[in-house]
Subunit: 537 residues, 2 copies
Amino acid sequence: MRGRMMDFPLTLPTLLERAKNQFSRVELVWRRPDKSVSRYTFGDLYRRSRALAEALARVGLKKGDRVASLMWNNAAHVEAYLGVPVAGGVLHTLNLRLHPSELTFIANHADDRFLIVDDVLLPCLESFRREAHFERIFVVPSSGAPVPAGFENYEFLLATANGTFAYPTLDENDAAVMCFTSGTTGRPKGVVYSHRSIILHSLAQAMKDSFSVGHQDTVLIMTPMFHANAWGLPITSVLTGAKLVLPGQHGDAESLLRLIVSENVSIACGVPTVWLGILEELERNPGKWKLPREVSAPSGGSAPPESLIRALDRHGIHITHSWGMTETSPLATTTGLRTYMEDWPDDEKYKVRSRQGWASPFIEVRITRDGREAPRDGQTAGDLEVRGPWVASSYHNAPEEQRSWTPDGWFRTGDVATMDADGYIRLVDRSKDLIKSGGEWISSVDLENAVMGHPAVKEAAVIGVPHPKWEERPLAVVVLKQDAKATPEELRAFLAARFAKWQIPDAFIFVDAIPRTSVGKFLKSKLRDQCAGWKWE
Amino acid sequence: MRGRMMDFPLTLPTLLERAKNQFSRVELVWRRPDKSVSRYTFGDLYRRSRALAEALARVGLKKGDRVASLMWNNAAHVEAYLGVPVAGGVLHTLNLRLHPSELTFIANHADDRFLIVDDVLLPCLESFRREAHFERIFVVPSSGAPVPAGFENYEFLLATANGTFAYPTLDENDAAVMCFTSGTTGRPKGVVYSHRSIILHSLAQAMKDSFSVGHQDTVLIMTPMFHANAWGLPITSVLTGAKLVLPGQHGDAESLLRLIVSENVSIACGVPTVWLGILEELERNPGKWKLPREVSAPSGGSAPPESLIRALDRHGIHITHSWGMTETSPLATTTGLRTYMEDWPDDEKYKVRSRQGWASPFIEVRITRDGREAPRDGQTAGDLEVRGPWVASSYHNAPEEQRSWTPDGWFRTGDVATMDADGYIRLVDRSKDLIKSGGEWISSVDLENAVMGHPAVKEAAVIGVPHPKWEERPLAVVVLKQDAKATPEELRAFLAARFAKWQIPDAFIFVDAIPRTSVGKFLKSKLRDQCAGWKWE
């Protein structure tokens, strides 16, 4: 017996129409290259996204064709997020921080047909344009300067639309967006999101126990829109009618804080390093920044150090840690305090808040060890595997990568984690970053977070370095705060309160900066390369 | 090009597994027939729901078979909400307030195979049992008394399960639940919900701008679980891990308030008449009831009078008005204040809060007049039509009722409404309750809400009565509060401040009670019958 409900697909045109019908006066605000702030309404966003869709159809876009974007977080990028999929196309967000050779590979592997590019990113485009094969390139005159000769103007493209656009028939499983993973090993792999996966992800993300987004919120998106759908927040903001604030290319703490204050931001998402920068700015200038309301701060990408969560709380910025990957759209888990924890001591609460939390509805997670499910005891670490309606089932044209899925269809995240009886996940490490010392595992992540709790430390990364006797031993790479001092002995003593002797790094080296991936994570593979010749004393 | 996301169906087994994996210690609390309060955990709910599923399979339940329930709001009913669909069956909630002849028709029309019944409802069952054709009847010993001879004990049924149950393969479009509409005309019509529709409905309902349900909430369900899925809240509470409180058969204000206080309720849903009763109790006993926290009060079924919203606000109970129908699962719209209304005067805000609000994500609404879409001006009234993934596309085995859908597939709600540029719907009336006077329409609902704003009035219904000159004229049927007095002249003068002279009822009659439908709405068809011989002076 079938249900007798309407066969109504979950597609982006419905979401876009809702924005017009219900939220036409909600604002979208963005910072331009010259730092000036522009704004228009969701009504404008609706008209321009539809104009883009119509214009793309006019230049020959066919269903499933890929349209690449090489853009910062700005209004035109949101237009592409909506306009390309509602035209039946597939938006492919190019990560502008990648190496030209990677960009070439990605654009060609995705078979990108058209490109929309911010004019300020033309130099980046030049680095790989010749090797890529874009049929047409539309330049958004973000800076206000004339579009250089030889390029088409995005505004002229939009002007070709006359408002007669009709959405193509879309199946909810049709492709809508494509992102490549920024893995540190192997070549990048393409994840292809469907209309359905994007919408289910947004419904779950909007929930109270997740990012808690509603029409009274103002959402500042500090995660790049060219990486993992900016965590889904552009779409979720349009879905819920939340005012949207985009920082353009200006990711420095001062520019971001200015927006938080001037636009009355209530939700701001960013990776821990962005929050670290904001915290530094807040503490450097006591009394300078008056936040108009409490800020909810979804944070992911890596685990926020407990010390960061504590410090930001004091400034009215409240981190909620979430975990996910490009392959999980990305939101998979979010942490929070359960009602039975209400009376727990603060220290315990902060521990809970720095875990990865529990899975969103319809995301299923399991921890396996030697091919069997590990006990849910919060202790036993194993491989974290995941499945659900917004989890990838394969990569774009990469059958050789199918080993990333188990034979029974779960995605292997590459993370090692524990899970407890309430479903809380705690990531121990990336499986490749675990340090194997004398037959035991040491978590580099735990050590990093502990070292970053030291008052003199700004950032720290810990890697395993080959050792003649112990196989590997931990080595800490530390960046001190400006004008702060700490010796290896002090740091060792600081860690001794929380770690067994054999877990404490054998060496601490002090550097000015830790190499990062294109999305701001510690690039441990580079650290390992740099320490390849390390000699233990 | 298709998305490369997992083909992961939206079905209730996933939701039930999540309850075990994440919320096993969350409580479910219910009041028994003797008024005592029982409680168990979602872990127990999980085990018992699965035991029910397994036991039903053992007695021969096949996919799509209907299992009827004749039950109050209690734990066993939640077990049926989950256990029947995860076994592949279709739960059919029988409305115990219907006439025996209707119950007979409904049970037979649905082809109910099994029945689960509260022991205290056996007298109700006796009134139609012989004419219905239940193959087996399982009696829940809710009262604690022995199950009468000739019936099977629900607990013995559950005890036949040994924990080896495996979920059947389910398609998300498979039927899961069935409700009959309690229309005041025609025979009841069966609405058949799918797993997908139930889950999408719950995701939307949990959202911040809708019922805003999260794991820190305690949800009291004062709407009957035998009507319109209790607005979807049992499933949404399990989805989000919110503590669930069920009042059993005790719907009196005192019993409900006791639960709100003792269980620390944060969300309580009920029709306006239930809230009116609670308000009366609160005002009769100043200082007696100390609510432990603010209560969010989703209210629907009929429009809450502005005076009720105001009065409850003063007691820390905040009504959010939602609109929907059995055919819409039921949630379709929810109201709220937009950010630009922040500085509006209170009077204006209360007006907005008594509107029906705007459509949930993926519910589309339109107002048509003479077959064309009416302007979105907040003024032009027309037929309210709706579509979306949790809107019925047809009734169970009732092809003759297909006139309830437009040729282009929208459901005709039978309501007359306006819509404004922000998507706010305002119901003017049921199309059949509109009063046609001298070629103009008068809204019975507007008059009722206004009369109920008079301090002496407890309830009021307004109907159109045939008139020799004007076709129809409004007549108000009024119930005064205990010991309160008001004359027709006073009420007329009270209305004159807000209505044109020709809109004010020509007559006011005072009665002890207004007849109601099985779900507590004013039964205007009966009032019209009673006034059939009315002679205008």
